[in-house]
Symmetry: C2
């Protein structure tokens, strides 16, 4: 199950994400709030971390806080908005990259930046995001289609741009690079997360799982090797442990991307 975020009231969602002006409580009466948006978001994350996205229900979140499902609706407009908040909260775990950089002229590119090691910086960013996704695999089930535009998500973007700055790309190419990098990390994290999930859910090793799978496949499609010759040769070369092969794909895929970025740098000044 994938979950579709960002479907709630965009207005309220944004307000919550960015910390609503918090009406200064003038003339408030009634019982003090026993919960808070923050607490609910935390509880939601706890549920999703522990039980997975499928188990995330308003009831479950409420229960974890000793309330009913309906109690949450005082604080949060609905499940969709809660998901947006959970998503951004998780992304807030990301480091914001190395140096904020005071404020060099943002115009053209005569920057005297340390340069060159932008590759390292981008790699660090990618590893950071990858690890974050794997800490909270359910986030990968929140459809990335709708941009939530939370502060943490934007901060992550900004961090990537900061890392890429020394590469000195023209704007259009920069956009392409950012898109490619983000999607790549997310996609690969999803693959890895699922491999782990399959192992955990079925109690079978990732390795065994694949073995069973491909045995069954060979049985069902005896002409496999003729139909997919290139696939077969590629498959054959990656004999190692499955999780290692993901890491290798991550490394090499990233290398491709970095090379591509390097190739598009503006002519050196």
């Amino acid at each position: 199950m994938t979950v579709y975020a960002g479907q709630g009231d965009a207005h309220r969602s944004l307000a919550l994400l960015w910390g609503a002006p918090e009406e200064p409580r003038t003339g408030r009466s009634g019982p003090k709030p026993g919960l808070s948006v923050d607490a609910i978001v935390s509880a939601g994350i706890a549920v999703a971390d522990a039980e997975g996205m499928a188990a995330l229900s308003m009831r479950a979140v409420g229960e974890r806080l000793g309330r009913t499902a309906m109690a949450l609706y005082t604080y949060v407009p609905g499940k969709a908005e809660l998901l947006d908040l959970m998503h951004d909260r998780v992304l807030a775990e990301l480091g914001t990259g190395p140096a904020p950089v005071p404020a060099p002229v943002p115009t053209t590119a005569t920057a005297t930046a340390p340069a060159g090691d932008w590759r390292e910086a981008v790699t660090a960013w990618a590893e950071d995001l990858y690890a974050c996704y794997l800490r909270h695999p359910w986030v990968l089930q929140v459809s990335q289609a709708r941009p939530v535009l939370g502060p943490a998500e934007l901060a992550a973007m900004e961090a990537l741009l900061r890392a890429l700055r020394p590469a000195d790309l023209p704007p259009s190419r920069l956009r392409g690079a950012v898109a490619a990098l983000w999607q790549f990390v997310r996609g690969l994290a999803a693959t890895t997360a699922d491999a782990r999930g399959a192992a955990a859910a079925t109690g079978v090793t990732d390795e065994d799982w694949w073995a069973t799978r491909s045995a069954r496949l060979a049985e069902l499609a005896p002409d496999f090797a003729e139909r997919y010759p290139l696939l077969v040769t590629l498959q054959g070369t990656g004999g190692g442990a499955p999780e290692d092969s993901h890491r290798e794909a991550f490394r090499t895929g990233l290398a491709v991307l970095l090379d591509g970025i390097a190739a598009g740098r503006a002519p050196k000044a």
Copy 2:
């Protein structure tokens, strides 16, 4: 809502995907089947195309076929498996690329292939996949986490490998390139699909939607420009229509990837 595929019985799912041996009907009695797996899959796709993923329910699919939801269970083990089948059916719309290539020595790289225009071939492949996703946007809501391993998905992969062959990459790098390309196309398609969906659902232009969104954002985070300086400069440079900017991101992102692939080619023979 994202939907999580591949959670059903892997055995039966695979059998259905690959066209089960189709027990040769010896000694069958009972009423003739009025439905078929194919018809059910088609109905499911029709529902999802027309009403979106959220509206895809066993009841809805059954109704379209003039049956109840439970009638489907005679043919298909459950909703998860149906989704797998729908997914692969959609991917079967993809072209399989230019020339199947008879069978040149797959060992080393002294191939006399037309070479060079692998960029074009890969671009065509990417455009094809991108277009297919946009024809059936709901597919992007099927979690890519779990590899379904249907014939069409594998064929798409094979087609990409065929396109990439003249680039003559070492296997490890090839794996990285494939992963990066696939994730990129999928991710960008998701973004585009959603932009369209937002426009359709709310009746607001994509442009207006963004305008509202960023106005609200400026209101909630007046220090936006200081917090995200690089993001702001990047945003500012892309004034055009929103859908065009996706296409541009697609083009430039792909260019980055292709350059990266080119950079990693084995030394020319």
